[in-house]
Every structure is written in C-alpha cells, then in structure tokens.
Amino acid sequence: MNPFKRSPFVIIATTLVYIFLYAPIVGLILYSFNASRANVTFQGFITQTSDRVVMDGSLVVASPCGAFHWYCDLAKNRDVLEAAGNTLSIAFTATIISTIIGTMSAIALQRYDFKLKPFSQLALYIPIVIPEIVMGIGVLTLFSQFFGWLNNALALSGDARLSLGIFTVTVSHIAFMVPFVTLVVQARLQGFDKSYEEAAMDLGADEWTTFRRVTLPMLLPGVLSGALLAFTLSLDDFVITFFTNGPGSTTLPIYVYGLLRRIITPQVNALSTVWILIVFFAVMAIQILQSRDAKPRHA
C-alpha cells in the first residue's frame, strides 16, 4: 500500500512518456495511407473510387488496392523484395549457427572449468561493452585487408575476387549474436538441475543420448528464446551490416537508409508499418515462450 502509486505526478509523467514513445510510430503508420506521392504533407487518407485513387488532391491513379495503395506499391518493388530476401536468409543462417555454438559455449561456461574459460568469457563480453561501430569498422578492416592480400596472392580478378557480400555480413552477424545466445542459455542453465542428466546416465544413457533425450528437450525453451532473440537482432541490425555489405547483399535496414537520402514516398511508411507488425508478433512469441518456460512445481 503505497500512496505514491496514485501520485498524479507519476501518472502524468508516465502517460506523457508513453505518448512520446508512440507518437512517431502512429504518425508513421498514418502516413502510410497518405494521399500524396511526395509525402511531404499529409493530404488526407487515400479514398477509393472504384479502382482509382486520388493523389495529391487532383491526380488520379489507377490502383486496385484502394487505401492500401502504397502497400501494393511496396509489393511490386523488386529492390525491397530482394533486400527482404537477403535479410531473411542472412538472419536464418546466422541464427542457426550462432544458436548451436552459443548453446555449446553456454554449457561450457556454466558447467566446466578449463584453461580457455577466462578468455572465452572476456571475448563474449566485449561485443556488449564496445560501441557497435568499433566492431563494424574492425571487421571491415579485417575483410578489406585480408581479401586484398588474398586477391593479390592468388592473383584473382573479376568475379573471382573476394569482396564484401552476404558471406561477410552473415559471418559478422554471428559474431555479435553469439554473446546474446550464450547469455540467454546460460541464464536458463543456472536453474537447471544436474540430477536429470545424472538420472539418465544412471539408467543407461551415454553422454550423447542423455543430451539428445533429456538435456536438450528440457533446455529447448531457453534455446529457442535465445534463437529468437538472435534472429531479431540480425533482422534489425544496421551498423555491422552497413560496414560489411556489398552489392547484392543489401538488407532492409540498409535499403531504408538509402531511401531516406533520396526520394521518400509513403511506400517507406508502408514498409515500416509491415515491419512493425512482424516485430510485434515476434515479440509476442518470445513472451509466450518465456511464460511457458516457468519451472515445474514439485507438488
């Protein structure tokens, strides 16, 4: 019973902050229905008359999508689709690899003592405490120097020359995703009772069978939320991708950034809205997984 809970100051401040948090997003979504191609001012919501829409007050454009005109436009945009494809494939690959090696290192750090341990722990902390840009230019430097040397040494030319692309982006993503996966799985491991595994071995299962039939199933919610976290990190990443991408490996954030420096139509807003919705559902999935992850009670 705390009088502060109802303090008007707190309530007003809270409301204002929430408004602050959501105003830009609401604006973003509203403008995705903007009846204006230049998207400079808001010309009102797109209204539909049969299969045509009114644009910029007077221009009439044929559009079967009505109010969702810009979304359809978006769907026809080849560059966006390619960027989306890249983003997803990079995220998938990076997630799978970082989840596997991240889970392995979480188990190692949580349960074993070995000479390499302090070094591993340090390496895992670094991406969290240094600014992303430092890591970004670091990998860029690594790749440019290494590829440059390799290209010269093997006298490669043209298409055979090693350069930045999907490979470099993926590999760099894994590097900054692994610490997060490790952290999440380690947290889950902390409460994990070793006796389950001992029971399995006691009943005749060797190490690999124990892991497969007992440890992994019980660890799965933690591993999955680690994987989901890693996945969204990769989807969202800008800085690292910015420094390691090349032609043909553009991801969505990079694409949007590029657009912002050129022409902005409400298509960008449509893209943003779709993006927000996808993230919304992903976050919900994480929450549901985490709540099902609660430890079982002993009756």
Binding site: Y112, I128, V129, L260, S272
Partner: protein
C-alpha cells in the same frame, strides 16, 4: 580417445567452447588488434594502408594539424577535439534526459498490479524492437517544417490567434538530441524497472511505520535501492550514444558531426582507414574508461542481463 574425453572434464569444456571462442577471436579480437595496428599507419595515395609506426593520426585527433589554413606548417585545429567533446556532452545530456523520463515510467510499471505489469512492459518493448532506422525516420517526419508537430502547433496557434512561423527543428543539434533520447529511452526503462520491482513491498510499509512520509521514503529507500538499475541503464545508453552515427546523419544533416560520423566518413568518404581507426580506438578507450569507473563504483548488475 572417447575415454580420454570422458575422464577429462576440462577437455570437454574446451571442446564445447572452442567454436565460439575461435569465431570471436577471428572476428572480434583480431579486428581490434588490426585497428590498433592500422591506427599507427599512414594512408597510401590510393586509399590503402601503409604499415608503419607513426603517431600522426593521434596527434591530428588531438588538434595538431599540419594542413593549416594560413599556410603555417603547424597549428592547432580543435576540430576533432570539438567532435569528441560534442559526442561526450551529447551522450551525457541524453543520459540525463533519458533517466528523468524513464524513472517515472519504470516506477509506475513496478508499482502497478502484477498482472498488468507485463502488458505495460510489452508496450515499452514494441518501439524498442522496431527497427532503429525506421524510428529515426519517424522523427524526421515529425520534425520537418511541414511535419506533424508543426501542423499541430500551427493549428493551435491559429486557434489562439497567434502568428506562427513553422519551426526549423530538423537538422539541428536539438533534433539529434531528441532522436537519441527516443532511440535509447527503452534501454533505461527496463533496468530501472527490474531493480525497482525487486524492492519488497514490506520495505515501503516499514518506512511508513517508522515515520517516513512518502517523499522521504522515496529518497531514503526507493532511490538508493534502484541505483543498480540506473547504473545499468546508463551504461546501456551512454556507450551506444557515443558511437551512433545514423541519428546525427539523418536528423542532423551535415550540421552535427559526432565521433560516429567522423569514423563513418573516414572509412567511406575520405577512405582514410588509418585516421578512422585511430578515432575508433579513441572512442573505444573512452567508453571503456567510462564503463570501468562506473562499474567500479556501482557494480555490474544482472539488470543488464535482464534487459
């Protein structure tokens, strides 16, 4: 061989941790060393790196310029020091503003009904997980001369009968500050919430029982106990603000240059990897110093992990 693996627990641990450690060694440790080495190098005419040892880049960063405007051979150009200073003050200001906005919200959520807390948190999380670039773009739209804020202000002004000239909000340091605050606000809300939530209700009751009015209870009990969260949040805000370049790029235009922009331009426009590396290292050193002193004084909490 399998038997050897079974007997030696340390070997098992090494085996499991090896892939990650190798990966990070190649893609994190080596690049950092490379950055260090290159920062002592010279820029070759075609934009590459000449490996040598010279402190030129660092000297230049701290003001000693050999390319003087008035033809002198050596002079003091505070340009880069100004950039460093600007980044520091921006990070500091952002952190202070973020704390003052995040605290009431975190407090509200922590003291709300347990079943509603997750919903409130969820509402904080959604903007957080929306893409960085998109969030910046959203502010760009709001702050423009023809943007929503000006429209609203204009409407209110008209209604009050006051003359209104649309504000030039975009491409100013203020815009960058607002953008930074917006980007990193959730990173402060979560840790503060976590440490506030841990405070047992009975502590408030005990304080009241012992005669403390709500304000004193807050100052003497709540605030100190929530410090770990504030510290964690500060680290989560201060460090990224120092290094971000998108916000200043999009919302500040060419007017506001921070370390992040400097580094970005050196690598991409000026193609001087050596100077950029030096700047990057200075950035890293500064953030490490800040982190070190902070955690030394306040401790490194699990609030960061929770966030």
């Amino acid at each position: 061989m399998l038997k050897k693996l079974r007997e030696n627990k340390a070997l098992q641990g090494t085996f499991l941790a090896l892939p990650t450690t190798l990966w990070l060694f190649v893609l994190l440790i080596i690049p950092l060393f490379l950055t260090l080495i290159i920062s002592f190098g010279k820029r070759s005419p075609d934009g590459g790196v000449i490996y040598t040892f010279t402190l030129d880049n660092y000297i230049r960063l701290f003001g000693y310029e050999t390319n003087c405007a008035n033809g002198q051979s050596a002079c003091f150009d505070p340009l880069y020091v100004q950039i460093l200073w600007r980044s520091l003050t921006l990070a500091f200001n952002t952190t202070v503003i973020v704390i003052s906005m995040a605290y009431p919200l975190a407090y509200f959520i922590a003291r709300a009904h347990p079943q509603k807390r997750n919903t409130y948190l969820f509402m904080v999380l959604i903007p957080l997980w929306t893409n960085f670039v998109i969030r910046v773009y959203a502010w760009m739209m709001l702050l423009r001369k023809e943007g929503a804020i000006n429209i609203i202000l204009g409407t209110v002004a008209n209604w009050l009968g006051i003359d209104f000239v649309p504000l030039e909000m975009l491409y100013t340091p203020g815009a960058v500050l607002v953008g930074m605050v917006y980007e990193f606000l959730p990173f402060m809300i979560l840790p503060i919430y976590t440490s506030l939530e841990k405070i047992d209700n009975s502590l408030y009751e005990a304080a009241a029982d012992l005669g403390a009015n709500p304000i004193r209870a807050f100052l003497r009990v709540t605030l100190p106990l929530s410090m770990p969260g504030v510290v964690a949040g500060t680290i989560l805000v201060f460090i990224p603000v120092m290094g971000t370049f998108i916000v200043s790029d999009i919302l500040g235009g060419r007017q506001v240059i921070l370390i992040g922009n400097l580094i970005q331009r050196q690598f991409l426009d000026a193609r001087d990897a050596t100077f950029g590396s030096a700047a990057s290292l200075i950035l890293m050193v500064m953030t490490l110093i800040v982190t070190y002193f902070y955690t030394r004084k306040f401790g490194f909490g699990e609030e960061i992990v929770a966030a």
